[in-house]
């Protein structure tokens, strides 16, 4: 459903993605892995329209997203849980979560979804009136994840959800992703913890230096080969 076609993108004069093509299938969990600095985050940012494409195209259900503004892409049901948290520091935890349901079509479910997020993260329920800027690193990560869930997206892009979370919480998060997968949502997961990623994924893409090195259904992936590819510089 989401086609990335020969995409080139980067930051100003620095190009990061080099003619990258990949397909994300509906209802599947697609894992994108690769060493640090490979351009995984950059790819997700490009999909969301946060950085412009200098070449190529990205299409959702055949509609081109290139040149579209980020907010309009977001309203189309694609949601990104960003790396590095990107929470609204000057707003309360509850307002942060609520903003996740900003698109008109999502507002009806706010109360219900809020309750669900608080159930998943009781820690946030305790802190609902606190400014997000005062949260601990892990708590802020919970806010970012909870906020992403509030949007009930049809495509969920997740950038390193386990970052900064305690092991119990990591298990929780992957439990949630598991459930979303079972509900039939499309998920794109960027994760350094290959082990965890593979346990959830239907399909795996390995990126390195802005290119796609490997693209395989998860069951066929050989960990050792993956490992070798990782470090083949």
């Amino acid at each position: 459903m989401l086609e990335v076609n020969r995409v080139r993108a980067g930051y100003g004069a620095i190009n990061v993605l080099w003619d990258l093509s990949l397909t994300i299938r509906e209802g599947e969990v697609t894992a994108i892995i690769g060493p640090n600095g490979a351009g995984k985050t950059t790819l997700l940012r490009a999909i969301m329209g946060l950085i412009p494409l200098s070449q190529g195209d990205i299409a959702l259900h055949g509609d081109s997203l290139a040149g579209r503004q980020t907010w309009s892409i977001a309203r189309h049901g694609i949601s990104l849980i960003p790396e590095g948290r990107l929470v609204f520091r000057d707003m309360t935890v509850e307002d942060n979560l609520t903003m996740g349901a900003f698109p008109n079509s999502r507002r009806a479910g706010v109360a219900h979804n809020l309750a669900r997020v608080y159930e998943l993260f009781p820690r946030l329920a305790e802190r609902r009136r606190q400014l997000a800027g005062a949260l601990s690193g892990g708590e802020a990560q919970m806010v970012a994840i909870g906020r992403g869930l509030m949007a009930e997206p049809s495509v969920l892009l997740v950038d390193e959800p386990s970052l900064g979370l305690a092991p119990v919480m990591v298990q929780e998060i992957f439990g949630i992703l598991e459930r979303l997968k079972a509900e039939g949502r499309t998920i794109v997961l960027v994760e350094q913890n290959t082990h965890l990623a593979l346990s959830l994924a239907d399909h795996v893409h390995l990126m390195q230096a802005g290119r796609l090195l490997l693209s395989e259904p998860a069951p066929r992936v050989d960990l050792q080969r993956l490992h070798d590819l990782y470090f083949a510089r």
Partner: protein, 238 residues
């Protein structure tokens, strides 16, 4: 070399740390773990001087540090990283290290800066602006670089390994241990990856709700039922 007595920290009505006692020796490598929001970062803030505790004592290298301003603690040999990277935004990566070295250590040594850049694989990014132009992992590396450039006696590392690829983590740990050997520095490290902590540290201290609930060898600590319940969720053996 570091000793914390009865540290208590409150924010508004919230007790973030209560009666924390902790000590470590020169050259020790200690892991600090605990659930999210347990107060680990806050403890680092107390040690480095960003947060003043409502009560307690901070002794480093035999000096009472409680009233010492941030920069004095840094010059005395306390180096720290920030969990959410805080590069010096207006400077390049190299200039970041230069400032740390010039003011934390006292004089500039370009060769050392190059060494640090190489070690952290930041060489290609040396001229890049710190604020924009770095991936998250690179920003974390820069955090470590700044701390190392001050030539600390005690290194406080706050989740610097999170988000690193497995191989990178290993390399990093080896270098840290080498540093400890060479300069006899102590390391206090916050990390959520149990495997890493177990491999790196002789000793682990667990915080939960602002209290120390366990302190001992990794094996002992990670088998403690209370720790399993509140923190690892049984993932220790994963």
């Amino acid at each position: 070399m570091l000793q914390l007595d009865n540290i208590a920290v409150r924010f508004g009505g919230l007790n973030v740390l209560t009666d924390v006692n902790f000590a470590m020796e020169t050259g020790e490598v200690v892991g600090l773990v605990g659930p999210n929001g347990a107060g680990k970062t806050t403890l680092f803030n107390v040690i480095s001087g960003l947060v003043r505790p409502v009560s307690g004592r901070v002794v480093f290298d035999g000096r009472d540090m409680l009233r010492a301003p941030l920069y004095q603690r840094a010059r005395a040999g306390l180096g720290r990283t920030f969990q959410i990277p805080q590069p010096m935004h207006e400077l390049t990566v190299r200039e970041n290290l230069r400032v740390a070295q010039r003011f934390g250590r006292g004089r500039v040594d370009e060769a050392r800066i190059d060494e640090i850049l190489d070690f952290l694989k930041l060489r290609p990014k040396a001229q890049a602006d710190a604020a924009s132009g770095l991936a998250l992992s690179e920003l974390k590396a820069l955090e470590v670089g700044k701390a190392l450039a001050t030539e600390p006696k005690l290194l406080l590392l706050d989740e610097v390994l999170a988000g690193l690829e497995t191989h990178g983590k290993r390399l990093f740990m080896q270098t840290l241990l080498a540093l400890r050997e060479r300069f006899g520095i102590g390391i206090l490290i916050i990390e959520h990856d149990i495997e890493t902590i177990s491999n790196l540290c002789q000793r682990v201290c667990v915080l939960d709700f602002g209290k120390v609930i366990a302190d001992g060898t990794p094996q002992a600590v990670f088998e403690d039922p209370q720790v399993i319940k509140s923190y690892t969720g049984g993932a220790a053996h994963a």
